[in-house]
């Protein structure tokens, strides 16, 4: 995508996102809000997996950590503006820890370590009921009130979430364009070569996990005031896999991939509602078909189509995008 196209696309998306909930019922607005916060979580995983090439099956556990810390602090009377950064920070450092295994193992080993981590977090949340309320979870968290702007209503909360998402996306944009972003991609494509060119691949690997996890924590900090009821079951392994699917379906390593992927994963069940329980079935089959025929996700398909129909400005290599390795 050329240099001016991306900001233009971003602006168009923001306008669209502002108009989307107008005149809609509460349920639709709720669905749109969860699209926003899953986009944030998926954006984080896209950095870890799509840009830096490190697989993680634990993104939902960071949403959990962010959600629980925010819940406990706001229940204790702290403002969301204080609770959110603390959640973020906690996830950053725990993510740093989760990155350590990636320094020793890769691929399926790493997938299983992170999977185990997700399950461990789930067990702690379920068993330590003195803190987390156990299986019953936590209820009654307040929505943030910014004086002139109260987010208690669904529509207001949507715009609040949208603002947070836009800021998060801009920060992410800054990261992936910076030398750090270049180092992340170098880590994905050839870690040995990157190291020989002075990239401290250990530090970059840890940062890929830490930043990705912090985005998970931010999504969690939004979940708490949105649903005002959290329980361990909402952050199980299945949800980590859902976020992973968002990244893959959208197109790993593409900046807008997570938004597209989250839209598909969140909205598709709504469209497939008539299929009742079959949607997961249809969905998982679609994922396998997509991986076989379009391993770069929907954005990858888009890039390939553009390359075919706009041969003048398109180059063949664009279509390749970032192939997962």
């Amino acid at each position: 995508m050329s240099f001016w196209l991306r900001p233009l696309f971003l602006a168009a998306m923001i306008v669209l996102a502002c108009l989307a909930p107008l005149g809609q019922g509460n349920y639709i607005i709720y669905i749109l809000t969860s699209w926003l916060l899953f986009s944030v979580a998926a954006m984080g995983l896209n950095l870890t997996l799509g840009y830096a090439g490190q697989i993680s099956l634990a993104q939902a556990s960071f949403m959990a950590i962010g959600a629980y810390i925010t819940a406990l602090l706001t229940l204790a009377g702290w403002h969301w503006l204080i609770a959110m950064p603390l959640s973020l920070l906690a996830c950053f450092f725990i993510g740093l820890l989760l990155g350590y295994p990636a320094l020793r193992v890769q691929g399926h080993f790493l997938a299983f370590v992170t999977l185990a981590f997700n399950t461990l977090v789930f067990l702690v949340l379920r068993n330590e009921d003195w803190l987390t309320g156990g299986s019953y979870g936590l209820v009654g968290m307040p929505r943030p009130d910014f004086g002139i702007f109260n987010t208690a209503k669904q529509l207001q909360f949507y715009y609040f979430a949208l603002a947070v998402t836009v800021v998060a996306a801009l920060v992410m944009w800054g990261i992936v364009r910076s030398p750090w972003g270049r180092a992340f991609r170098a880590l994905r494509e050839n870690p040995m070569r990157a190291e020989s060119l002075g990239v401290d691949t250990r530090r970059i690997t840890l940062l890929a996990f830490a930043i990705g996890s912090a985005y998970g924590g931010l999504a969690g900090a939004l979940v708490t005031p949105l649903v005002q009821f959290i329980e361990p079951g909402s952050f199980g392994l299945v949800h980590s896999l859902r976020i992973l699917l968002m990244v893959v379906v959208g197109g790993a390593g593409f900046f807008f991939g997570p938004f597209v992927g989250a839209a598909v994963v969140i909205l598709l069940p709504e469209f497939l509602r008539f299929t009742e329980g079959y949607y997961l079935l249809i969905y998982s089959a679609l994922v396998i078909v997509m991986l076989a025929f379009a391993p770069n996700g929907l954005i990858g398909i888009g890039a390939r189509l553009r390359a075919r129909f706009l041969p003048l400005q398109a180059r063949g290599d664009l279509a390749q995008g970032s192939r997962l390795k």
């Binding site: 910076s178 030398p179 991609r185 494509e189 070569r193 190291e195 020989s196 060119l197 002075g198």
Partner: protein
């Protein structure tokens, strides 16, 4: 004469009873191009890996710019002023040529934090473009490295090793797989770079013609020992070298 860029003193390395390198010592002066040749299994790669800090010699030590390198991480060694290429092509195929080159320089500028908050190109675009032009890849600057021809990728690979302005560059079979027309070009570019920037090279190469033309001095290894050392023309005439290659 100034202090040597690379000094290897009494290095020996064994693998399970087989002595891959035996008591090898030599120095590389500033601006020198040293060709390291020898038949397969003569210990070239082992020696290379000792210099790169990847292997710890059993005896002896390796200094770069007066600092011991043993056990050093590759990124630290790079910051000490050592650039390298790999035997296999090692570019970042999904990144543009320009991004490949900028990556090769960015870690040498500023701090971790300034690399996050500062300019996206770390202020290196100008320098990178010069280097790209030097290796005659300017028309390909925005292309993905993976879409380049093999020879072009080989040039890019070498260019990346130079981006940080190293004092010493280790080239592992730079001519491998490069076609004849490209080969002369590659050699000429390497020599020009060496002349203009004064960086020292150590080159492992199987293509005799190429390495003889390129180097200012040749060291011949056989069975882990130095059997000959001297200017290319002396080596060409040396009977023991011919024996080592033909297998006496």
């Amino acid at each position: 004469m100034t202090a040597p860029v690379l000094s290897i003193r009494g290095v020996s390395k064994s693998f399970g009873g087989i002595r891959a390198v035996r008591d090898v010592s030599f120095e590389v002066a500033k601006g020198e191009i040293l060709g390291l040749i020898g038949p397969n299994g003569s210990g070239k790669s082992t020696l290379f890996n000792c210099v790169l800090g990847q292997l710890r010699p059993d005896e002896g030590d390796v200094h770069v710019n007066g600092k011991p390198v043993s056990g050093m991480r590759a990124s630290e060694l790079n910051k000490l002023g050592v650039g390298r290429t790999f035997q296999q092509l090692s570019v970042f195929p999904q990144m543009t040529v320009l991004d490949n080159i900028i990556l090769a320089g960015q870690e040498h500028h500023g701090t971790m934090l300034s690399r996050l908050l500062g300019k996206p190109d770390a202020g290196l675009t100008g320098q990178a473009e010069e280097l790209i032009a030097f290796f005659r890849l300017d028309h390909l600057r925005e292309e993905k490295a993976g879409s380049l021809s093999y020879g072009q990728q080989k040039l890019l690979d070498a260019a990346m090793a130079f981006m940080a302005g190293p004092d010493l560059v280790l080239l592992d079979e730079p001519a491998g797989g490069v076609n004849l027309t490209m080969l002369a070009d590659l050699r000429e570019r390497l020599q020009t770079y060496n002349r203009e920037h004064g960086a020292s090279f150590v080159v492992i190469e199987h293509n005799m013609e190429f390495v003889m033309e390129l180097s200012t001095r040749i060291i011949v290894l056989a069975e882990g020992e130095i059997i000959a050392e001297g200017a290319p023309e002396e080596i060409r005439a040396n009977q023991s070298v011919i024996d080592a290659y033909l297998g006496s």
